[in-house]
């Protein structure tokens, strides 16, 4: 179960990763976060973000335009 859900639907890339960078330092280390986004480049962005910042992607699901990524912070 995720500890929190962040909804970035309706936001254009690269806003979601900029916002995530700014908010996640308040989370506890090891917390599991679900991030929603529907921008076409969201998947590419979030994957790059995770690899550059050393976070693990636990799961990635697509529901139509919406992508749900589960990340361990």
């Amino acid at each position: 179960m995720a500890d929190r859900l962040i909804d970035y639907r309706g936001l254009k890339c690269p806003y979601p990763i900029l916002k995530l960078s700014a908010t996640y330092p308040n989370f506890k280390e090891g917390e599991i976060v679900e991030v929603l986004g529907d921008c076409p480049t969201f998947e590419k962005d979030i994957k790059a973000w995770c690899s550059k910042l050393g976070k693990t992607i636990l799961n990635l699901e697509k529901h139509g335009n919406t992508i749900k990524v589960t990340i361990r912070i």
């Binding site: 254009k12 890339c13 690269p14 990763i17 900029l18 995530l20 960078s21 700014a22 330092p25 921008c39 076409p40 480049t41 590419k44 962005d45 790059a48 973000w49 550059k52 910042l53």
Partner: protein, 634 residues
């Protein structure tokens, strides 16, 4: 697929009036496609391209423009994403650095130059930080070491020292202050106020100084005499030396106990006085001796030549007087230490004194009882028997003279070891092993005035013709020749004790029972020098001990951990690479506080509370010392 072969006979798609025209359908499809693509581009999806060629120039231009727009927007979006991910990444690194995690590094591989440069800048800044931190760390270590050194200095200067805070709380006190006051550091530091040590009469003055010093250090005297009271309430005269510690409101005070100082000073002055008297009387005696020799020579000549009996009689009297004078001179020369001592044999002091008793009893008369206190074991000492006789005879006749109505004389002999502490109060006496001879009487005693002058030549309180005043000065001179010391304790009306300390330079082992040097205890010998270690270990094994050997501190600790329940004593070398002997002894004490240790060194050393031996000592001496320590009660 749109077939671009189509031609509109009506003159163009856009103006087509034919509702049913199939080309009209085509055109609207193309326009819908264009709209879809523009919409996608607007959302940021730049993947689709329009791959169409149409005849109609206007339409083809639209398609080309859309493709161009897509391309441009794509590169803008790439830039945007590159910047965003770069910022996220650098932000993360900066955040970690800020939290003190210096293991992170910013990446320098972004395709965007400015992001790359930012990464490089962050890394440079990080390296600079690490450099500063390292520098601070070494400085911190230096400061700690300095602090430790400072503490070591303060605790070993040999003067009582305290550090006092503004509110008079004593923050630091050294060993000497403990000794001076009788309180322990644990009771004092951070708990007691300096005012608690002031005497009533000094309280106001010292508080005033304390305050003044904090307003302006030059207003309060740096040095002043004062009085303090110790734990038992005893008042001590002290000399204070106070200064402010820079950058603080704390002051540091050294406190010298003047009562002790005065005593020591008196001893020094006395010895200097005796020294100059010695020089002076030596010169006089020498000149005088020359004169006497010629008088005696001529008188002897005269005696043999004189025929008149009366004249002859006078000459004989002259000769006799000269001989008496010669013996005075001899005494004076002894006092001034001009007499050389030749090769001396070892004397069994115990035996000598036992025989001596019979010799003195008739001398002192029946009113005076002579008692002997001799040790069980034999004590040997290299001394000329006639010298010892002169010393004892003088002390005993003086004792007799002090007891005209009878009393007791006690003669005692023992071997004692004077430690460093004794050396503090008697700076002229070196610590070490001594033979002590005591002559005590129950006579009339002496007042301070007399006591301070008794060793001066010609000082006497006896009536003219009775005493020459050379007795004690001769004794003094003789004892000095042997490197010894003489002390007087006297109370008017009660009696007097003369204590003679003769230094035991070498232990005489011929009198020692070899069996008594043996033992079965378990010992640990620590020395990095293989030869010494093996020599000592095998010596100890020969005498029955079970010996473990270690070549350095760490090895010693390892071995000790395993056998600590059985080890009785550790012999530790002072100078070893790595852990020094003293450090090792400290660590051993941490493991077992009651552990017995002996420090071995190549040269004579003195440490507080530590038994040490020189490695150059003979095997017997080492064994003897070892037995002494082992036999001591815990």
């Amino acid at each position: 697929m749109i077939d671009n072969q189509y031609h509109c006979p009506e003159g163009g798609f856009l103006e087509c009036k034919n509702f049913f025209c199939e080309h009209g359908q085509r055109l609207s499809e193309i326009l819908h496609l264009c709209s879809d693509i523009i919409e996608k581009i607007g959302k940021g999806d730049t993947s689709p391209k329009i791959d169409l060629k149409v005849e109609r120039y206007a339409v083809q231009r639209l398609i080309d423009s859309i493709n161009k727009l897509r391309e441009e927007i794509e590169s803008l979006i790439d830039l945007n994403h590159g910047l965003a991910i770069g910022i996220c990444e650098h932000f993360e690194v900066l955040r970690k650095l800020q939290k003190g995690n210096f293991s992170v590094k910013a990446s320098e591989d972004s395709p965007i130059e400015i992001v790359r440069m930012l990464g490089a800048l962050i890394n440079k800044q990080r390296d600079r930080f690490i450099e500063y931190i390292d520098r601070i760390k070494t400085q911190h270590k230096d400061i700690l070491e300095l602090y430790e050194q400072q503490n070591m200095i303060l605790s070993s200067v040999g003067v009582a020292i305290i550090v006092v805070e503004e509110d008079m709380t004593i923050e630091f006190a050294n060993d000497e202050f403990e000794m001076l006051t009788g309180y322990s550091k644990r009771e004092i530091e951070g708990k007691m106020k300096w005012t608690e040590f002031f005497t009533e009469e000094m309280l106001d003055k010292m508080i005033e100084y304390h305050k003044l010093r904090r307003i302006s250090p030059s207003l309060a005297p740096r040095q002043y005499s004062s009085k303090i009271k110790d734990r038992s309430g005893q008042i001590k005269e002290v000399l204070m030396n106070v200064a402010m510690i820079p950058y603080t409101k704390k002051s540091i005070a050294s406190i010298i106990d003047m009562t002790e100082r005065k005593k020591i000073e008196e001893q020094l002055i006395h010895s200097q006085k005796m020294e100059s008297l010695g020089v002076l009387s030596g010169k006089i005696a020498h000149e005088f001796n020359n004169v006497l020799t010629s008088i005696l020579g001529f008188a002897t000549l005269l005696e043999s030549k004189a025929e008149d009996e009366t004249l002859k009689g006078y000459t004989v009297r002259i000769i006799e007087s000269c001989q008496r004078a010669k013996s005075f001179v001899k005494n004076l020369l002894t006092f001034s230490r001009k007499e050389e001592i030749g090769e001396i044999k070892r004397l069994n002091l115990k035996e000598y004194l036992a025989n001596f008793q019979g010799f003195i009893e008739p001398l002192v008369g029946s009113d005076i009882k002579v008692m002997l206190k001799l040790p069980e074991k034999e004590i040997f000492y290299k001394i000329e028997p006639t010298h010892l006789e002169v010393i004892l005879m003088n002390l005993i006749t003086n004792a007799r003279d002090a007891m005209p109505d009878g009393g007791e004389i006690t003669l005692s002999l023992k071997e004692i070891s004077l430690d460093t502490e004794y050396h503090f109060t008697h700076p002229l006496i070196k610590p070490g092993l001594y033979v002590m001879l005591c002559v005590t009487d129950t006579g009339k005693g002496m007042d301070e005035e007399t006591k301070s002058r008794i060793f001066e030549p010609f000082f006497t309180t006896k009536p003219k013709g009775k005493g020459t005043g050379l007795g004690l000065s001769t004794v003094f001179g003789l004892i000095k020749q042997y490197g010894g010391h003489i002390h007087v304790y006297s109370e008017v009306g009660k009696g007097t004790t003369f204590k003679i300390y003769l230094p035991q330079t070498e232990k005489d082992f011929s009198s020692i029972d070899r069996e008594s040097l043996k033992g079965k205890e378990v010992l640990l010998v620590v020395d990095d020098e293989t030869n010494t270690r093996q020599y000592i270990a095998s010596l100890l094994r020969d005498y029955g001990y079970e010996v473990y050997e270690a070549t350095n501190g760490n090895e010693a600790l390892e071995i000790y951990e395993k056998i600590k329940d059985r080890v009785s004593l550790c012999l530790v070398d002072l100078v070893m690479p790595g852990m020094t002997g003293l450090e090792l002894m400290k660590k051993l004490r941490q493991i077992s506080p009651s552990i017995k240790t002996i420090l071995m060194s190549g040269y004579p050393v003195q440490f507080k509370d530590i038994v040490s031996i020189e490695k150059t000592l003979s095997g017997d001496e080492i064994l003897y010392k070892l037995r002494e320590i082992l036999n001591e009660k815990e």
